[in-house]
Symmetry: C2
Subunit: 234 residues, 2 copies
Amino acid sequence: MNPEKLAFVGGTGPEGLGLAARFAAAGHAVVIGSRSAERAQQAAATVKAKVPEAQVEGRVNQEAVEAGEIVVVTIPFAGHRDTLKTLAPAIGAKIVIDVVSPLAFAGRQMKALAVPEGSAAQQAQALLPQAAVAAAFHHLDAGSLMELEERLEADVLVCSDHAYAKLRAMALAEQIAGVRALDAGPLANSRYLEEFTALLLSLNKNYKAHTALRIVGITRAGGGPRRGGKAAPR
Amino acid sequence: MNPEKLAFVGGTGPEGLGLAARFAAAGHAVVIGSRSAERAQQAAATVKAKVPEAQVEGRVNQEAVEAGEIVVVTIPFAGHRDTLKTLAPAIGAKIVIDVVSPLAFAGRQMKALAVPEGSAAQQAQALLPQAAVAAAFHHLDAGSLMELEERLEADVLVCSDHAYAKLRAMALAEQIAGVRALDAGPLANSRYLEEFTALLLSLNKNYKAHTALRIVGITRAGGGPRRGGKAAPR
């Protein structure tokens, strides 16, 4: 896979920072976006401290998106709709990887929120009709991502209606040591991924653990998606 | 764990039959319920052929439930509400383990159906207010269950608001060779389990596989639930 320039929308939170560090370590140029240029630069400095060879910079979200080839969305769900609406012209027809799980506390448990479009990723696709949205990376523990020497033990399930976006997201996932990417079907399946995050957080709490997911029974690991979807635009 | 008499509501389908065979092999008495006494008896004969030492009989659902100590619900979702409403007096305050995933085909993909109560298991608890409902066993492959010599490689995630029902369901799960039971929190989490079945079916289709689930990162396996819930009634 050729190095790509990855833009993180809301890359200052733990999940965005962890993914940015892993992809920077894999040789990709990374632009960390934030509403605040200052916080973006601080996050970039954090990545640089972890990955001295990193090509990383911090910018406001709009500039980050303009600079990136692939846009990774790692904002809290509360800002998901408004942020993507604002960034839609800058995102255009790029590949978008949505990592957001729409969750909120209900008492002491995390609960999945209903999203009118079906899921956060489907909301992104509705707001970004030109873009090729994939949903992925919901179940990787942020703390483990930041421990760069740690080999993860996890599957990354990827949903998309665009075969080329799915392929790129799957290839990116497998650049994280120990991760296997799986084709989890059309974007409509993303809701099951997003909601399962609530279950993993519940397990984390019950067992004081940092859980991840493995799918058993698939022997043909790796490779691209098994079935179609829209072809890449020329 | 002492042998218990397990009643299957709708035990003639592949999932019910597979679980019945495994639990009969583990030494539990099993009553397979169906709307038709004849089909129930045929299913019981199928289990007996697999497990010659099985204590197994086939009865109409009502009689099966009356005979059982723990009721396992393995009917298709289409009949879930009406069947449980009819059986409510016979079920009373028993432990109910709901295995149902509310799914339907949407085109060529399985899609999770919205359930007014939140999930099939929450619907069961609403219809059976005296009962102690747990949700479990959604992700075990029916075909693999029927291969009794096959050691499964799977976690069974168990949700309930009743600690004693959760404990019993978890103990039953761990009588299936290779299965680890995990406390997946309150019954409200059952929706995430039920819906994830749609994702596993999608993976099965994409990869021509029989998938199951393992949770990575939990070292304190086995044992009971980690946190409270209602105590057993005296």
